[in-house]
């Protein structure tokens, strides 16, 4: 049995930058849907978002960092609906309704900030 390489991976870094490094708006806007972080976590797991992004949205080789995203809810939903070609799958409303995405958004915004590197002994000196 042979396994292929997951070919969206080379674009993981640009996506990481889009999700985590650029502020494209306030995290809460008047038109935002009310999101439930607990429900969002369940959707995150059920729909397999963690497969590429990690259970805490930390990202990795296969997916961008979502934890504490700087995207607004509108920007987040817009990205999931129309990701750049070659990156993550396009999730349409039939598969993930806006409300579920709002819940997922609430979840990834609720994940605490990580400890700084200097406070992690195993990473010191590397």
């Amino acid at each position: 049995m042979q396994h292929l390489s997951f070919s969206v991976m080379p674009l993981a870094l640009p996506l990481a930058i889009l999700f985590a490094g650029i502020s494209v708006g306030q995290s809460k806007n008047p038109g935002d849907l009310a999101g439930n972080a607990e429900s969002g976590k369940a959707v995150f797991v059920k729909n397999g978002c963690y497969q590429c992004h990690g259970y805490q949205g930390q990202g990795g080789f296969a997916g961008a960092r979502l934890m504490q995203t700087k995207l607004s809810q509108t920007g987040f939903i817009g990205f999931v609906r129309n990701p750049p070609p070659g990156g993550m799958p396009q999730f349409r409303a039939k598969i993930m309704p806006d409300q579920e995405l709002a819940d997922v958004y609430a979840y990834i915004k609720s994940i605490p900030e990580p400890k700084p590197v200097k406070d992690i002994p195993l990473l010191n000196g590397l």
Binding site: F6, F61, P116, V117
Partner: protein, 641 residues
């Protein structure tokens, strides 16, 4: 027809006294004959007993002579699952040969045998031998032989087969016999032969070893006919030919000089290192070239080619996934993997209508150095897509580097040297930032359950960094954390992946690599994917039985995860469902208790570990057992990647 009724041989038998006279003469001959010094002597040197030796016949079986031949090649180990078609060779190996050089290793599957040989050769630089039935055994072994072929690694495969119908007894020997045993794997071995006499066997075995260990190194097959093994030696004046290693193919001087001119003139050259360092010298040479040019080196991690923390070690952002060549005006590809894929980007997944575009800078020059071109085959497509290189140097990269370095040095003017130094400073600064980004990413989810792959790599590094360690697994499936965080400097510290991308390689290959490391006293560790483990778990019994010290840290994400991501991708693409991707991919319900499985094979084991705080102490306990000379397994429930 039974063996006792077959036609009398026309070959004269020689009594024991005659054999002893012959042996004494052979010893004298061996003492007088100058030993041919192998030309490929850095690693993987064959046995010193390569002088011509005459062996007389007596009542010994032909398999004894075959063992003499194999011993002359300096092969340390032979892995096999026992099979009747090579029973005589088996018996000769352990009794006549004293079960030493080679020592027989008991395997529970022929794929384990071949993958163990694969891992062994990547550490030791020379082939191991495996034995298998020419039919069912080879069918089992074929996947691992293909990996070995695609990874350019030597291995000697000896197949048992009974060609003469008069010697086949019962139905099993009929279904285990084949007209052309090696045909099953001929597409992915470098050479094979089916000797019909013992002298023919001697010549072909020596030739096979030579072919396998000449770059591009690849597996070879010799069929040991059952009749030839089991019948008394009747041939007179048997002789084991001298093994003289071929010189290593080196790039043409003119082409190398042209390549040097391009590299020196370039504003931003990059080296893409695929299969470069056959020996520790290969790493030194690549460092020398990089330092001379102040050029970035992107190690594709097929081997340990370049120190991971060298200031010029290329980092593609934080992922190291793909060489960054977009800003380069000269690309030196040293036996690079999928070079076309390095130079282009494609839309993913949908092959129909797949769009590709070059990502090279306009006018960028492409130089390739590769010996693989010397042995292209047709059927299996491991050669990759055709690359339009500006200069294609045919030769082994390591053997070609000295001349290339010298040619580069001759062309460097003071002005170019100043430009190189400026370039080097920019690369070093970019790498410093990339490394800081690596550390910040590693910190994410560091205390999470399941355990993050960065935490797993960090905990393991903390325990091995002061040892003489060797990581014998690939790190792709754990987001490359070891190569992003650890300090790799020595050739045996990293051996890359399986070559043919066939799953089931890592567990047996890590055992084979640990076997090779054992005599050097190195601490061998492996990050073992759970999906891979389940193909050939019984290789851990082989490790326990033969006291092979190996620490396996299970990356237990409870799925064939890459495929799971694909299923999710397609579910989204067709706008159906993404919550069913576990079907056919997940290893859950029940969760597999790998520690219990390992214990069943006689291996020290702990787990499953889900709390990262428990991991460091468990690894320490495992290492204590490994240092005592036994295998150990620590099962860690992990994040997917």
């Amino acid at each position: 027809m039974s063996k006792s009724k077959k036609a009398p041989s026309v070959v004269e038998r020689v009594d024991r006294r005659g054999f002893l006279r012959g042996a004494a003469g052979a010893a004298a001959l061996a003492a007088q004959a100058p030993l041919a010094k192998p030309q490929q002597a850095e690693r993987g040197s064959p046995a010193e007993s390569t002088a011509a030796v005459e062996v007389a016949g007596n009542e010994k079986p032909g398999s004894d002579f075959m063992i003499d031949v194999i011993k002359s090649l300096g092969i340390e180990y032979c892995a096999a699952n026992p099979g009747s078609s090579f029973r005589a060779l088996h018996e000769s190996m352990i009794n006549y040969g004293g079960n030493s050089m080679p020592e027989l290793l008991t395997c529970c599957h022929e794929e384990s045998s071949a993958a163990m040989a694969h891992g062994y050769a990547k550490i030791e630089g020379k082939p191991m031998m495996i034995m298998a039935h020419g039919t069912v055994g080879l069918q089992h072994a074929s996947m691992a032989i293909y990996n070995c072929y695609a990874d350019r690694v030597p291995m000697l495969v000896v197949l048992g087969n009974i060609l003469d119908v008069n010697y086949r007894r019962g139905s099993a020997e009929w279904v285990h016999s084949v007209q052309d045993a090696a045909s099953l794997v001929r597409d992915f071995v470098k050479w094979d032969d089916t000797p019909v006499t013992l002298q023919h066997f001697a010549e072909s075995a020596v030739r096979a070893y030579k072919i396998s260990t000449t770059v591009p190194m690849e597996p070879v097959v010799i069929v040991a006919d059952g009749t030839l093994q089991e019948e008394p030696i009747r041939e007179k004046n048997l002789r084991i030919p001298k093994l003289v290693m071929s010189s290593i193919p080196q790039g043409d001087s003119g082409a190398v000089a042209d390549a040097a001119r391009i590299l020196v003139a370039a504003e931003n050259p990059v080296v893409v290192a695929g299969n470069v360092a056959r020996t520790p010298r290969g790493i030194e040479l690549l460092v020398e070239l990089a330092d001379t040019l102040q050029a970035r080196v992107h190690d594709q991690r097929l081997r340990m080619n370049f120190p991971s923390n060298h200031p010029l070690a290329g980092r593609s952002g934080a992922t190291r996934a793909t060489p960054n060549i977009t800003d380069s005006d000269a690309i030196l590809a040293l036996e690079a993997d999928d070079l076309w894929g390095v130079l282009h980007r494609s839309t993913p997944i949908n092959r129909f209508g797949m769009e590709t575009r070059p990502i090279t800078k306009a006018g960028a020059k492409i130089i390739t150095v590769s010996a693989v071109e010397l042995n292209h085959k047709s059927n299996y497509q491991d050669f990759g897509r055709y690359v339009e290189a500006d200069i294609a140097v045919t030769g082994d990269p390591e053997a070609t580097l000295p001349e290339l370095i010298e040619a580069v040095r001759k062309l460097i003017t003071p002005g170019r040297k100043r430009a190189f130094e400026e370039r080097g400073k920019k690369i070093v600064e970019a790498n410093r930032k990339a490394h800081q980004m690596d550390l910040e990413q590693a910190a994410l989810a560091f205390d999470a359950t399941p355990v993050s792959t960065a935490r797993m790599a960090g905990e393991l590094w903390a325990q091995v960094k002061n040892e003489d360690w060797s990581l014998v697994s690939n790190d792709r499936h754990c987001s490359f954390w070891p190569t992003r965080l650890w300090n790799f400097t020595k050739q045996y510290q990293f051996i890359g992946a399986q070559g043919g991308a066939g799953v089931g390689y890592n567990a047996p290959a890590s055992v084979g690599a640990a076997l090779a490391n054992r005599k050097h006293g190195r601490l061998t560790v492996s990050i073992q994917d759970d999906g891979d483990f389940n193909y050939l778990p019984a290789v851990f019994w082989t490790a326990a039985h033969h006291n092979i010290p190996l620490l396996s840290v299970m990356h237990n994400n409870r799925a064939y995860h890459e495929e799971r991501m694909y299923i999710q991708l397609y579910g989204a693409k067709y706008n159906r469902a993404v919550d069913r991707s576990d079907i056919g991919t997940a290893l859950i319900k029940p969760d597999i208790d790998y520690a219990t499985v390992a214990k069943g094979y006689g291996v020290y084991a702990e787990g499953p570990i889900g709390d990262p705080k428990d991991l460091g102490p468990a690894i320490r306990r495992g290492i204590e057992r490994v240092k005592a000379g036994e295998p150990a397994l620590i099962d860690v429930v992990t994040q997917p990647r």
